[in-house]
Symmetry: C2
Subunit: 207 residues, 2 copies
Amino acid sequence: MTNNADKGLLIVLSGPSGVGKGTVCSMLRKLAPELVYSVSATTRSPRAGEVDGVNYFFKTKEQFRSMIERDELLEWAEYVGNYYGTPRSFVNDTIRAGKDIILEIEVQGAMKVKQKFPEGVFIFLMPPSLGELKNRIVTRGTETDDSIRSRMSVAVDEIKLLEHYDYAVVNDQVESACARIRSIITAEHCRRERIMPYVNSWMEEVR
Amino acid sequence: MTNNADKGLLIVLSGPSGVGKGTVCSMLRKLAPELVYSVSATTRSPRAGEVDGVNYFFKTKEQFRSMIERDELLEWAEYVGNYYGTPRSFVNDTIRAGKDIILEIEVQGAMKVKQKFPEGVFIFLMPPSLGELKNRIVTRGTETDDSIRSRMSVAVDEIKLLEHYDYAVVNDQVESACARIRSIITAEHCRRERIMPYVNSWMEEVR
């Protein structure tokens, strides 16, 4: 037995908009090639170079609606006239194969995933401070004072959702945040509940 | 804020006799010099080269008994006519200074520590299999079949105590076990409960 003998984990990486989820995930793809990244289903058309099953699972609206009806999505949402969602089967197949899968998602989606997949490991990416989050929002684009205020107010509401997560990783530096996420995954594989079944089977042997 | 902004952790490293706690701890001292190692109190005489406060806190029996009475020990035991115990103050001073402290201890002692310090992180070092544990006990010395059987029976009883621990680390290779322990410490610093107070204070600010 090793600490990676069993099923994989679903790691849900979320956090307020502007915190740097995308940047952290891109770095993680380079640093941790052993992790699988969740592939979304969408009804939008493929763009040049996008491959079905790699960038997205491309679906018709009819197909997508029937996935919703059959409860085949861990979460879904409509955005600018198209559907986007997380197929449950891709997640399940990956963890059954003993691999860990990462799902990067905004906070509302993460809360829906938690309802359908509470055994996931929920990681909240945090800004080092509210001031720092404001800096990141300001330097991102050419926002007006009003839109910055409204984005900050949304971010503050999103940060309140931290209470529903297992872990908070401060994104002070991208590399440090990635190292913390990898440590969390390793530690979760060491949780007593995951090793207990092996020990119980040993006890059967010696009885 | 970073993920190491707050108090340190008490990490209790235990496991059945013969599993290699001492070897893992020695390697950890080399790999993780940032960790503090708990210093025991004892009534036995210092040996050549042993320094008070470094190898042990050397106490008279009278001093030790008064530490017991004043509840100044997280656990204690008598062994071959001498007392040994874990001073609570050394642990508390270390974590208050923001440093993590490791206590390597046999399973009975760990269970006593858990009663007095339930907020500790309890890690159980596991053999990869019962067969492997037997090999380690056999190759250790010139034990008779009877004593091997009796040591194995004790080890099996000790392994049952895993259910009281937070984590199980399989000691398949010393370096891997050390890496898992370090990941657990990092992950514990990222637990939501440890970050939540900062976020609550932010929310006070913006209100």
